[in-house]
Symmetry: C2
Subunit: 328 residues, 2 copies
């Protein structure tokens, strides 16, 4: 988040870094100046214009209302408020205007949702969207630094013929843990009553909310892979217009903000996580018409889950707040 603020040259008069009591006291460098991290308390938000939250849902539930009470606009990167009807859930390329309805808290969507809606919105706007079926290929960095360490340690253990004990993935707080190196785990976040995981339900519900289309048919299967950074998605859509060609879709995606088309099969050009890392855009390729459904299309969507999927979208929301004159 700090790197992105620095890179974007975001106009900051005064920066306050907050953490839990445990992490307070450490120092962080920003634009060549050292900052001491302070313990987050309700009073910490006095005089703050924009508060970027990214410390887990329970912290946001506790402190976001306190920040709002003191006049801050909160951009929350957790799932705590995303489905709250009072809270705009925003991907600026898709529904920036929703920011105007905010009552203090703005939610940053789930990483896998953000990249998908950024790529699908231009098609929805042009042709209408009826149905989305997505299968994800998600990187471990979505589960935090401990998950990255676990993947690397396991990979080294397997290559060296050593034993290891999984302890983090698929979900740190769940009962069982499984090998992720050289494996694939079809579980991200906890299982819900209906057999879908919470990650899958996030993609389903957040997509409908961001696109303002409660009747959109969306289904998701979310899968964790031995990749450090970069989420990929195999997406099937049905649009609401007949006789649209791959060329038409290409034209829409080429014109879309924040989207880069990488789709030249004959030159083996398509998006891959290793290429997307460190870049803010959403990359789309492998666009092809379904062989049976005239209005069905397949595509492959890749983005850096730590940038557009998290930090960059949060900072973009903050930039939009400034642009729309919503920060007093």
């Amino acid at each position: 988040m700090l790197e992105t603020l620095e890179k974007r040259d975001f106009p900051i008069k005064n920066l306050i870094l907050l953490s839990s009591a445990r992490s307070a006291g450490s120092t962080v460098s920003f634009r060549g100046k050292e900052y001491t991290v302070e313990e987050a308390k309700p009073e910490s938000f006095e005089g703050v214009d924009i508060a970027l939250f990214s410390a887990g849902g329970s912290v946001s539930k506790l402190l976001a209302p306190e920040a709002v009470k003191r006049g801050a606009i909160v951009v929350d990167n957790t799932s705590a408020y995303r489905m709250d009807p009072e809270v705009p859930l925003v991907v600026p390329e898709v529904n920036e205007e929703d920011l105007k309805l905010h009552k203090g808290i703005i939610a940053n969507p789930n990483c896998s949702t953000i990249q998908m809606v950024a790529a699908l919105e231009p098609l929805r706007k042009a042709y209408g969207l009826k149905k989305v079926i997505v299968s994800t290929y998600q990187a471990v960095s979505g589960a935090g630094a401990v998950a990255i360490d676990e993947l690397n340690d396991q990979a080294q253990a397997i290559l060296s013929g050593d034993s290891f004990e999984p302890g983090v993935l698929p979900v740190k707080g769940d009962k069982k843990h499984y090998q992720i190196a050289y494996n694939v785990i079809p579980q991200i976040d906890l299982f819900q009553e209906n057999g879908f995981t919470f990650e899958e339900m996030k993609m389903i519900n957040e997509t409908k909310k961001i696109m303002h289309q409660p009747d959109l048919k969306v289904s998701a299967t979310c899968v964790r892979l031995p990749v450090v950074t970069g989420h990929s998605e195999s997406v099937y859509i049905e649009i609401d217009k007949d006789s649209i060609s791959v060329g038409d879709i290409h034209a829409q995606l080429t014109a879309a903000p924040g989207v880069t088309l990488q789709d030249v099969p004959e030159e083996q050009i398509y998006p891959m996580p290793a290429d997307a890392v460190g870049k803010p855009d959403v990359f789309v390729g492998r666009v092809r018409k379904d062989l049976d459904e005239d209005n069905g299309f397949h595509m492959w969507i890749v983005s850096d889950n730590l940038l557009k999927g998290a930090a960059w979208n949060s900072v973009q929301i903050a930039e939009s707040l400034l642009k729309l004159g919503l920060v007093k």
Copy 2:
């Protein structure tokens, strides 16, 4: 293949091992006896009952007809004859009866097709099948031993901070090669005119042929992952019957030959490649009803691509030939 023949105690009177001129002369142990590999020539097949071919499509095109001319039944593990209308394409659990129509050559389907049709056939038989949308998560061993070495070497290089030069994946004979360790490549086999890869078209066409359902709607997105062995598939289906429950699907899969149900979300039980390696079965889990389509279901299908996806299905075909009295 030899390991599987050994494990199944397949009745072999006389074993002949054939290879290219280059590999001839090496010795291989089978049931405690040493065999010298001979160069494959048309005459090599004199007196042979069953010939298991697995040396690439061009070798099969050249030598399978020679073997048939000399009275052998060929079980071909390449794509050379799969879509030939004269050649049965067989997964014994699905269409064993097709073996009776053989004219000398029987084709073993593509690895990713086999595990999918084995899992879907019981549902097709019980309810009818209208539509299949699959996204695959495929292991590198499908691209041969050089691809396994490439994955391991790259993983070690990345962990050690060394540089490396991709040279095998996604397709050894294609123009460009990409990193596979810690990456995801949405290309398996060469691209076709329609934007689908040959691997995707194999899944689409072979599924219709094996199921004898040319009007079945099938689409596929095939993706290579940093996994050594075990293909996974995220599959969406629409069946031809209303009001079927997940419990009904579970019952069909539990009763199906060659299929093992692993589907207890509350205990985090679902199939994963690391668990499937070395086992002949097709594992199915994450079965759930689509939230919008009453006759739509999602599931997750995993199998060892070197066993059910290749050697085991070939040996199964040979066993079925014996069982059906088709070997003279």
